[in-house]
């Protein structure tokens, strides 16, 4: 049985439906992420799981028990707030001891557990400090230690890395994974940062306008997005309007004025000739070479380099295609001594394999 079950939950604020008939479940030990743009309902959902808000309909179950009549302080669920919400009048130690005191554990037990928790987040030397004397990353770790110290069934994390700078963020991501693995506590993580979600999660529910668009493992979400929104929201993607010309083993698509391409046939889906939608392909699946060089790929077009973004490890080329559309192609800079290969205005050939990309009709 799943640890947490969210069943057909709906929450309205006046005329606005913040969460619209959402159902999903989280398994014990899982790192589960609710991902979506701001206003998609992910935080409302989190508040309902924590108990600060009640669903208008549907139910939230922990170990099969309806949480409806359990107030937040009685739920074995803790939250790491976006602002950390550390108690400013308490030391690091006292902050971490707080949930243990509330659970009326004895002094000795509290001392041992606080020591462990401080150790876990590497803050033993900061035990007597107050939150205002700590850096952002340290505060974050105190909040995590406080949330985990009495091993809740579920730890909810509301954009906890949002306030940190990029470098620290990356480091905290690694620490979060380690913490989750070491404590075995189930994490429900809320974020709008797709890269963070991909890096951290076992499974991700992508939300938009109060609904789950797709719930999948990170690689499937990235590799097999179910619709345009998910394809666009997760990672970078090239998108081109397309019409189905022939559907069989593979799919033949008409990309407007560009002409025909072959694309993989979507699994578990029947497509009829004439169906319209979009063809999506990730930049790293688009190969780029000088226009005069030939390629064995079945799908290829010649265009000109409009712009490029040199990132360091890779360069993204933005190529103008003959029909005015643009396509991005990613070229790894793995050849020593060569930072980039093409200049603005260079004629280039972009190509991809028959099994690359996907046709999405929604």
């Amino acid at each position: 049985m799943a640890l947490l079950e969210v069943r057909e939950v709906t929450r309205r604020f006046d005329n606005f439906v913040a969460v619209n008939n959402v159902t999903f479940s989280v398994n014990a030990g899982e790192f589960f992420t609710l991902l979506g743009p701001s206003g998609c309902g992910k935080t409302t959902l989190l508040r309902m799981i924590a108990g600060f808000d009640q669903p208008d309909s549907g139910g939230i179950f922990l170990d099969g028990v309806d949480l409806k009549d359990t107030p937040p302080e009685k739920r074995p669920i803790h939250t790491v707030f976006q602002s950390y919400a550390l108690f400013p009048h308490m030391t690091v130690e006292q902050n971490i001891a707080f949930p243990l005191k509330m659970a009326k554990q004895n002094e000795e037990e509290i001392r041992a557990k606080v020591k462990n928790a401080l150790d876990l987040v590497d803050l033993t030397d900061r035990a007597k400090r107050h939150p205002h004397e700590l850096s952002g990353g340290q505060r974050q770790r105190v909040a995590l230690a406080r949330g985990l110290v009495n091993r809740p069934r579920l730890l909810l994390l509301d954009e906890p890395l949002g306030a940190l700078d990029a470098k620290l963020r990356e480091q905290m991501q690694i620490e979060l994974i380690a913490l989750q693995r070491d404590t075995g506590v189930t994490f429900v993580f809320v974020t709008h940062a797709q890269a963070e979600a991909l890096a951290l999660s076992h499974r991700i529910a992508v939300m938009r306008a109060g609904k789950i668009e797709q719930l999948d493992e990170p690689d499937r979400l990235y590799g097999q997005p179910r619709n345009r929104f998910v394809a666009d929201f997760i990672g970078n993607v090239n998108m081109h309007e397309a019409t189905v010309k022939a559907a069989g083993e593979t799919l033949t698509l008409e990309l407007g004025k560009l002409g025909k391409i072959v694309a993989p046939m979507p699994k578990n889906q029947t497509l009829a000739e004439g169906a319209s939608g979009v063809f999506v392909i990730r930049p790293e699946q688009v190969a780029i070479r000088a226009a005069q060089e030939s390629s064995n790929d079945p799908n290829q077009f010649v265009g000109t380099v409009n712009d490029f973004l040199y990132i360091g490890d890779v360069t993204t080329y933005i190529v103008d295609l003959p029909d005015g559309a643009r396509i991005e192609a990613l070229l790894p800079n793995s050849a020593p001594g060569r930072a980039k290969f093409f200049e603005l205005g260079d004629p280039v050939r972009v190509s991809w394999k028959a099994e690359a990309g996907a046709f999405l009709d929604s």
């Binding site: 924590a50 302080e73 707030f81 919400a85 009048h89 707080f98 107050h130």
Partner: protein
Amino acid sequence: MSQSNSSRIRGERLVKYSVITPPFLFLLTFFLVPALIMVVASFRYPGEFGGLAPLFRGEDGVGGVTLENYKLFFSSTNYAWIFLRSFGVAALTTVICLFMAYPVALLVARSPKKSRDLLVLLCVLPFASNFLVRVYAWMIIFQPFDLMHSRLAVIIGMVYVHLPFMILPLYTNLEKHDPTLLDAAQDLGANAWHRFWRVTFPMSIPGIFSGALLVFIPVLGMFAIPEILGGKNDWLVGNMIKDAFLGSRDWPFGSMLSMVMTIAVLAAVGLATALAKKGVPRA
């Protein structure tokens, strides 16, 4: 560039000084100088018809400096009792004000933002009418209950007059608390009582402290309320000082009382500050 920079700095300095000078001179003339006069006066002899005898003893043997006033104070337990009673009344008033003001301040601080200003205004509205008129109104209320000229009447009057001075600093403090902290406390297992006692209350101690100062000290100097609502036995330090100046016209004695009270208040406040700093770390 450095020249224009330094002239800009000079300009800023000029503005700073011209803004700070008037209040500085005012305080110097009307606060520090009288305080010094009072210190000196407490060591002098009274003049024949009020006022002060000359600071330097003349050939007629009148004037000069003396410890007589202080000797008089410490020669009898009567004065000490009045002081003790004053501190007792002030402390009791402060505590009652705290218990009455806290719920009000909390209610206002947790009201919707729109209504807060109105509620604060209501708290200070009594100030809009004359103080004495309000105290005389109390007489009308007290008389049927036979409470006039009792210590209870004095305390009630004191609490009434000073309550806003407790509400306002408390409200200012409570209003700044991050509501997420209460969510966090609840989330971590704290019930309503623990949320108050472990989070709201300790964080409000600076507010309690300033409110207590704003009530405690004025109560000590208050003479109108004990005079109107209290009996002869309810005299406080304020009444003695007023009587020394306006009744017996013994200015040096009044100055001495004032000095003793100032020192006692400073000692009490210093002690309380030290205790507060030790007991509760700053937020």
